[in-house]
C-alpha cells in the first residue's frame, strides 16, 4: 500500500532564529484525506512543500513507499492556491501537460484530458483559454491537470483559499468526488475549519512557534459522503456542529487573545 511519510520533520529556514517546524510526523496512506490546519506560522505549507520535494527538511525523513523524497515528482502532484496554470495553453492542453512531458501521442492525451475535464465537470471548456475561466473553473482545471499525472498522492496547498464562499462550497464536493474516484491519498492545507471537517479522514492540528502537532481528529464525515449521504444532511448533523466546536477550540488553544 502506497505510503507518504513525514517522519520527525524539522524545518529551520536560513537566517531565522526559531525553527519553522519541529519534529512533526505525518503519515498519509493511499485513500486517506489528511488535512493540516492551524494558525498562521504553524508551518503547514512548509510541511506540504517537504512532501512535494520543494523544501528539504533540516532534520527528519520524508519518504514515499520507503524511498526518500529529494525532488518534486509526478507521484506527488501539487495544486497551488493560485492555480499556476499555463496561459499559453488551452484548458485541455493544460490538463494534458503531464502526458505531453511523457511523450504521449496528441490524440491519446486529448482523449485522456477530456475524460478528466468531464470528471471535474468542465466538459465544454476544453478549448477555452485560461483567462476566459472563472476562479473556480481554473481550480478545477488545476485539479484535472494534477490527476492527469496519475499521482499516488495529491498535495493541495489551500486550493480553495482564493475562491468565493459559494464556489468553495461546491468545490468541496468536487474534491470529495475526485478523491473517491481516483483513490489517491490527499494531503491538504487549509484555513477553513468546516472545510477540514467535510473533507478529512484525518485532521492534524498544528500550533505555531515552532510548528508542532497539538491534536489529531478522525472526523469521518467524508466517509459518510463517500457512502452516499448528502453533504447538507451531514452538515446539519448535530455531531458536525459539535466537531466544529471541538476543532476550533483545538486550533486556538493556548493562544493569547
Amino acid at each position: 500500500m502506497p505510503h507518504l511519510v513525514l517522519d520527525k520533520i524539522s524545518i529551520h529556514y536560513e537566517g531565522q532564529q526559531a525553527p519553522a517546524v519541529e519534529r512533526v510526523s505525518i503519515d498519509v496512506a493511499k485513500g486517506d484525506f489528511v488535512v493540516l490546519v492551524g494558525r498562521s506560522g504553524c508551518g503547514k505549507t512548509s510541511l506540504l512543500n517537504v512532501a512535494a520535494g520543494l523544501v528539504t527538511p533540516s532534520r527528519g525523513m520524508a519518504t514515499t513507499n520507503g524511498r526518500p523524497i529529494t525532488a518534486p515528482g509526478s507521484d506527488r502532484a501539487v495544486v497551488f492556491q493560485n492555480d499556476a496554470l499555463f496561459p499559453w495553453l488551452t484548458a485541455r492542453e493544460n490538463v494534458a501537460f503531464a502526458l505531453r512531458l511523457r511523450g504521449v501521442r496528441p490524440a491519446e492525451r486529448a482523449r485522456r484530458a477530456d475524460e478528466l475535464l468531464a470528471l471535474v465537470k468542465l466538459t465544454d471548456a476544453g478549448d477555452k483559454r485560461i483567462w476566459e475561466l472563472s476562479g473556480g473553473m481554473r481550480q478545477r482545471v488545476g485539479l484535472a491537470r494534477a490527476l492527469a499525472a496519475e499521482p499516488e498522492f495529491l498535495l493541495l496547498d489551500e486550493p480553495l483559499g482564493a475562491l468565493d464562499a459559494l464556489t468553495r462550497e461546491r468545490m468541496q464536493t468536487t474534491l470529495l468526488d475526485l478523491w473517491t474516484a481516483s483513490h489517491v491519498g490527499v494531503l491538504m492545507v487549509t484555513h477553513g475549519i468546516e472545510e477540514a471537517l467535510v473533507l478529512a479522514t484525518r485532521i492534524v492540528v498544528l500550533a505555531p512557534g515552532p510548528g508542532r502537532v497539538v491534536r489529531t481528529f478522525e472526523p469521518g464525515f467524508s466517509r459518510r459522503y463517500a457512502a452516499g449521504e448528502a453533504i447538507r444532511t451531514i452538515k446539519a448533523d448535530p455531531a458536525f456542529a459539535a466537531a466544529r466546536g471541538e476543532l476550533t477550540d483545538a486550533i486556538f488553544e493556548g493562544e493569547v487573545a
Binding site: 518534486p72 502532484a77 501539487v78 499556476a84 496561459p87 512531458l101 485560461i130
Partner: protein, 286 residues
C-alpha cells in the same frame, strides 16, 4: 537590477512615443472636445502647410528645402528610374535585408544569452557586464573597429546592426525569464518536468511577451543604426542613397529617403504589434 530597469524604461518610452494603442494600457478617459488623434493630424497638416508655403514663397532656397510636391514627384522618379544605380525598391530591399539578417543573428545569440542571465548566476556573472558595456556605445563608435577587423563587406554592415540589437534582445529575455512565477515552475516540476522541460515548456513561453518586446526595441535600434552601417562602401541601401544624394546636394532625394525610412519603421512597428497580439494574447490578462 539594471536589466529590469532597462527594459521597463525602454518599454515605457516606446509606448509613450508612438501613438499606437497598447493592449494593456488602461483606456484613456473620454474627454469632451478634440481628441489627441485629431490634434496630431492637425499638427502634421500644419507642418506640411508651413513647408509648402515656405517653398512656394521661396523663403529658403530650393537647394536646401525643396517643395513637398518636388519630394513627392522624386519618390516616383526614384521608384521607377532609380538613383545611384538602383531603384528605390532595390535600396529598400538591401536595407531591410541587412536589418533582418542582423535581427536573426541578434535573436540566435541574444535569446540564449538572456536565458543564461535569467536562469544561472554564472550566466549573469559572465554576460551582464559585457552587455552593460556594449549597450550604451553608439554604433558610429565601434563601426571603425568592425571595419578594421572584418573589412568593408556585407558582414561588417550586418554585424554593426546586430551589435546594436543584441543588448535589447538579451536584456528583455533575461527580465522575462526572471519574472516567471515560481509557482508555475513548481507546478511543472511536480507534474514530472525535468529541468530542460521546465525551460522549454514553462520558462520560454512565460518569457515570450518580454522577448517580443525586446525584439520590437531591437528592430527600432537596428533600423536607426542602418545609416551608420551603410556609411562605408555600400552600393545599395536607403542610408547609402541618402548619403550619396547629400554629396550632390540632391535635397529632395534626401528628404524623400528620410520619409521612406520613417514610413518603413512605422510599418514594422505595426506588424510586430500584430504579431504580439497573435502570439501572446494572454499578456496582461493573467
Amino acid at each position: 537590477m539594471t536589466v529590469t530597469s532597462y527594459t521597463e524604461r525602454s518599454n515605457q518610452k516606446i509606448d509613450e512615443v508612438d501613438g499606437l494603442s497598447v493592449p494593456w494600457s488602461p483606456a484613456a478617459p473620454r474627454r469632451k472636445g478634440v481628441s489627441a488623434r485629431i490634434i496630431s493630424a492637425a499638427t502634421i497638416l500644419a507642418v506640411l502647410a508651413i513647408w509648402a508655403l515656405s517653398a512656394r514663397l521661396q523663403l529658403v532656397s530650393p537647394v536646401f528645402l525643396p517643395s513637398p510636391a518636388a519630394v513627392w514627384n522624386k519618390f516616383f522618379v526614384v521608384a521607377n528610374d532609380g538613383f545611384v544605380d538602383a531603384t528605390l525598391w532595390q535600396h529598400a530591399v538591401a536595407s531591410l535585408g541587412r536589418v533582418f539578417a542582423a535581427l536573426v543573428a541578434a535573436l540566435l545569440i541574444g535569446v540564449p544569452v538572456g536565458l543564461a542571465i535569467g536562469i544561472s548566476t554564472v550566466g549573469r556573472g559572465i554576460f551582464d557586464p559585457l552587455l552593460e558595456f556594449l549597450r550604451p556605445i553608439p554604433p558610429l563608435a565601434y563601426l571603425p573597429l568592425v571595419i578594421i577587423w572584418f573589412g568593408i563587406g556585407e558582414p561588417s554592415k550586418i554585424l554593426v546592426i546586430a551589435i546594436a540589437m543584441l543588448a535589447p534582445v538579451a536584456l528583455s529575455t533575461a527580465s522575462g525569464v526572471r519574472g516567471v512565477s515560481q509557482e508555475r515552475i513548481n507546478a511543472a516540476r511536480s507534474l514530472g518536468a525535468t529541468k530542460r522541460q521546465v525551460v522549454r515548456h514553462v520558462i520560454l513561453p512565460s518569457a515570450l511577451p518580454s522577448i517580443l518586446t525586446g525584439l520590437r526595441i531591437a528592430l527600432g535600434a537596428g533600423w536607426s543604426t542602418l545609416v551608420a552601417a551603410e556609411l562605408v562602401a555600400a552600393t545599395r541601401g536607403l542610408g547609402f542613397m541618402i548619403q550619396s544624394a547629400a554629396q550632390f546636394l540632391v535635397t529632395d532625394v534626401v528628404i524623400m529617403g528620410i520619409l521612406v525610412i520613417a514610413a518603413i519603421a512605422f510599418v514594422l512597428e505595426f506588424i510586430i504589434r500584430r504579431i504580439e497580439r497573435v502570439l501572446v494574447p494572454w499578456a496582461g490578462r493573467e
